[in-house]
Amino acid sequence: MQKLFMRAVGILLLCFVFLPSLCLANGRVHALNYFQYHVLQENGRNVLRIEIGLDHDNLEYSVHTNQYKPKQLIIDLQNTEIGDIRQDITLDGRLGRYMTFRELERRHMQVMVSLAAQAQPQNYRVYTLKADREARKPFRLVIDVLEPVQSVSSPAQVEGVTGKTIVLDPGHGGSDSGAVGPSGLQEKDVTLAVAQKVRAILQNSGARVVMTREDDRDVYGMNATDQQELQARVNVGTYTPGTQVFLSIHCNSFSSPSAHGTATYYYPKGDADATLAEDLQEALIAAGGLSDRGINEANFYVVKHAAVPAALVELAFISNYNEEGLLGSADFQDKMAMAICRGLGKFFQDTGI
């Protein structure tokens, strides 16, 4: 720290000694002598704005990214020298992690911003702003780091679910990881991610959605019996007025890694249960393209005890290496989430519920 400080002081002194003469010589060398960052909102997106002040305008700069270090944004500044600012700066942590100023060669500073996400053109902007006397800001180079738009930020819509009330049950959670894949993917994380995507699409289509859990937790609480835990999920459906469908989302698993495919389970409380399972299974197979293990009558707790038509979907086998990879990918999760919503829409149309 002291060393850094000494170095900064040294550079500063150098600047004081040389700068006036250089400026006189060609009027082109910039000293970086102002720094500030803050997070602001823009159209509902968080933006990290980094402002680097220079002692005069007409800055030449170029912006680069590096495919081998995809989270770095690099800006080369011609004819610049570091002024009254630190060389290493910690950023907000959510959009930008830290940044450094380095002298690449004489009078050529390089700024590196380490981002939280990959540097993609739609997620950053680099530009200059003129001096603002009122705000007491000098001529600035501005780096905006924009919050990445989530893949389901403007979720698609499906027909047939407007005004419906659906309870989504992301399988397992908290102390219960569910099945674990050969690469360590946990069922509870996949089921929650997919359920959240399903909710986004359904809500955007005008449905009312209630989740048995919205984060990584046990629904009943820690140290519950298995029955308490499963009944707690059923209860969310029972005690949500107007619930029309209860849907539990899971990943399948088997002792042999060769088992694969998509399946849907139901308990025949009435005619609608099998219809729900069929509509979901058909949509999941069409979207995911995995092996069709069909709809299966099963004595499963949540679908049996739910008061409304219910189904339990097994998206794919987390115990199968290939399907584990799919289950962990946002693209496959999006496809299956969309398929679930289509299946639900078809179910409401088929049954008139």
Partner: protein, 195 residues
Amino acid sequence: MMRLFKTAVLGAALLAMLLAVGCAQNTPGSQDKASSSVKQQAPENKDTGNKKDTSAVGEITIKVYYPNEDGTKLLAVSRKVRTDKDTDKYTAAMKSLLSGTTAKGQVDIIPKAAKLRGIKVENGTARVDFTQELVKSFSGGSTGESMLVGSIVDTLTEFPEVKAVQILVNGKEVETIAGHMDTSVPVKRMDKLIK
């Protein structure tokens, strides 16, 4: 190494049993898949003699069920097992199931660490009791859980007097094995898994 040791022990036990019983009744070489289930019987030679049905001494043919490799169905395997005054036919069948399979195209689904604690049949319901490893050592989805329960239930309901099976762990009714199936009540024969 461990396996070698086990085989040796089983072999010795089998030999001892053969000597005691006499070679006439039991020729394990004549059975293919079933031989392991006969060996399984060997260490069970406790001399307590307090069991009810002494007439059940002998050899019977049973069917046990194991899932196929992709978990789409249960496959039946015929085995000859020995019953005696300590080992009734239900116990013999369940121990044979737990001994596992090495046949091509079949896989084990019940955790190796799970042991049978006891089994009783009353009013058409078999109450089969396992150690806690049945649940603790099991990690399965809907398919794994259905196949585990199905293999137990379908093996026991092969006996016509058994209509349903209640699974217990350490003497208590178990609510679910892996979080999907409701096993708090007796489970009826799962015919749909057998094709």
